[in-house]
Symmetry: C2
Subunit: 351 residues, 2 copies
């Protein structure tokens, strides 16, 4: 069927079997297999003979066949929502690096929306993955439970679920929300508002809860809320509405940096100055937050630590059959230039 494309391209040939390689190398078939297995016992001389023969014949071991025969693949399913959310590319890179370092390969599946989670997980499980990481905050309780029942270890990344018998690794969003409330009150703000992402996301609900609960403990202001989705455009329009209200908020806590970037753009368009007129706090600490263009005060999600916890939980479940755990990683307040400083600013994180 296949045409020879150009003069300099060799004709494409099917992959030869390991028997042919063994014959050419003058070794046993099992020696060929061992030569291609990291850490397997094989003499250097044999390994070299095998590699020379393999190269000559264009042989390449069949990882799929090996997985089927040994009933153990080295695939990990990564089911990922919101790939274009600027928080996730670095998470994906860190996860890939950590999994590859452990000898695992990644079967990547996109999670389009909440309803597709079941199908996505079902699909990676058909590939006999050794484990699955779901990096999305929009996994339903039902799905989380289903994961807990599966024979394959699952880690929910950035989704906090209590009492569902499934491992989750998440920022302590409630506590971080409280930290932001304290920061704003301690720096003399009296009319804070909340720019919200989607309430389908546990991360958004928890940040809001911590923020509102702490404000309720410390002041009487009826906190206005706007937004409803995690995007620059939603942050922009929500901030525009909030900041055009008769009783203008003096600070916005945005549930993500992306929303905060939108809010900063809205302020620019309204002719308001940050932090003189209105203070802005984000969440995530994506790389852009540190750029002079934004210089955003935010809560840092400790991505490296979260990925380390994810790997530890996953490997523990795969290799030692450890029990599922819920791991909360503290968020870190990063003070930059978007919150008005006052004499009381230094007590920011006091409870």
């Amino acid at each position: 069927m296949r045409k020879k494309a150009r003069g300099d391209v060799q004709a494409r040939k099917p992959n030869p079997s390991s028997i042919v390689v063994a014959r050419l190398a003058g070794v046993s078939q099992s020696a060929v297999s061992r030569a291609f297995t990291t850490g397997a016992s094989v003499s250097e001389a044999t390994r070299l003979k095998v590699m020379r023969a393999a190269k000559k014949l264009g042989y390449r071991p069949n990882a799929l066949a090996r997985a089927v025969l040994s009933r153990q693949s080295d695939l990990i399913g990564v089911v990922m929502g919101e790939i274009t959310n600027p928080f996730y590319p670095e998470v994906l890179e860190l996860l890939l690096g950590a999994l590859e370092a452990k000898g695992y390969r990644v079967l990547l599946k996109r999670l389009e929306h909440r309803d597709s989670a079941d199908a996505a997980v079902e699909e990676v499980l058909r590939y006999r993955v050794r484990g699955t990481i779901i990096t999305s905050s929009i996994v339903s309780d039902e799905m989380a439970r289903e994961c807990g029942r599966s024979s394959v270890p699952v880690v929910l990344f950035n989704r906090h679920v209590k009492d569902l018998g499934v491992t989750s690794v998440c920022c302590d969003n409630v506590d971080a929300g409280r930290t932001v409330a304290n920061l704003l009150l301690d720096t003399g703000h009296v009319r804070p508002a909340f720019v919200s992402g989607s309430d389908e996301a546990s991360t958004n609900r928890d940040r809001k809860k911590g923020f509102l609960d702490r404000l309720a403990e410390r002041c009487d202001w009826d906190v206005p809320i706007d937004g409803g989705e995690n995007s620059h455009a939603v942050g922009y329009h929500a901030a525009k509405r909030l900041l055009s209200a008769p009783s203008r908020p003096d600070a916005l806590f945005c549930a993500s940096d992306l929303l905060a970037f939108g809010a900063l753009d809205a302020m620019r368009d309204l002719g308001l100055h940050v932090p003189k007129d209105v203070s802005i706090v984000g969440f995530d600490d994506v790389p852009m937050a540190a750029w002079p263009a934004f210089n955003l005060t935010t809560i840092r999600q400790q991505r490296q630590l979260m990925v380390r916890e994810t790997m530890e939980a996953l490997i523990g479940q795969i290799e030692q059959g450890s029990a599922p755990t819920v791991r909360l990683v503290p968020g870190e307040l990063v003070l930059r230039g978007t919150v008005r400083e006052s004499t009381r600013a230094r007590s920011a994180t006091a409870a």
Copy 2:
């Protein structure tokens, strides 16, 4: 080995075989297989019986075993460099969507640096992928040739290679570089400079070539060049050096939006105004470029079209054994607010 984690988690059990499912459903083993194959001939009544039995037993078809038996996996290897470059998350999302729509699954491999390309491609090939997409501009000619020789179709995304017998889909970077040169000269700029990414990347070399060649045809200015890597920090420092020189450039063409964002931050710190003092042009049109914070004039890489071309080339090679092709997608000039307008601005794209 595995512990029961909580009361509400059912004991984990190994996956039952299709024979057990067939027995419970009262159908043949091949009926079970057909019931799980999209498009296979099976009556609705049989399919329902199979699904009910499968659900009861917790059966899940083994995609790996099926791939080995049929000698045809539905895996596509995606080898990706620069995952955190803001151009790529959307590309990855579009590729995943397009591949999943065609029934393919993605084995994702990170390309850490140029030297690791060979090993990365070798590794995905061991999984008997049906095809491979390499989304990186830093693939060596040697590696590209090696891909051309493999029995597995390969598409290089964002890497332009002539005469190597391997498919590549790429923005027409040389032409786009010329477009930027024309824009700047037509708007009355006389001292343009170039903020460069890495010359290991064909994209960077081609953008520079088109820009410098066209400038050489139309003016005598000795174009200063700074930079050398694609990051915000490099753009920032390169712009700072260029704009502090005795003979200050009146325009910067940055080889990527990321470099341009750094250059805009450098201008802010130098107290220079865009576009009054210096014009800035980027490349890519990442989502942020349209945010009011940047409002960046740039060259749009038509990502959707590039992904469509990639899919067409890949599927053509897999299913019809089509010959490799080089597909150049034109870049589109997006005029926003970072280039000084002059009376001649409207003839911007005239050659």
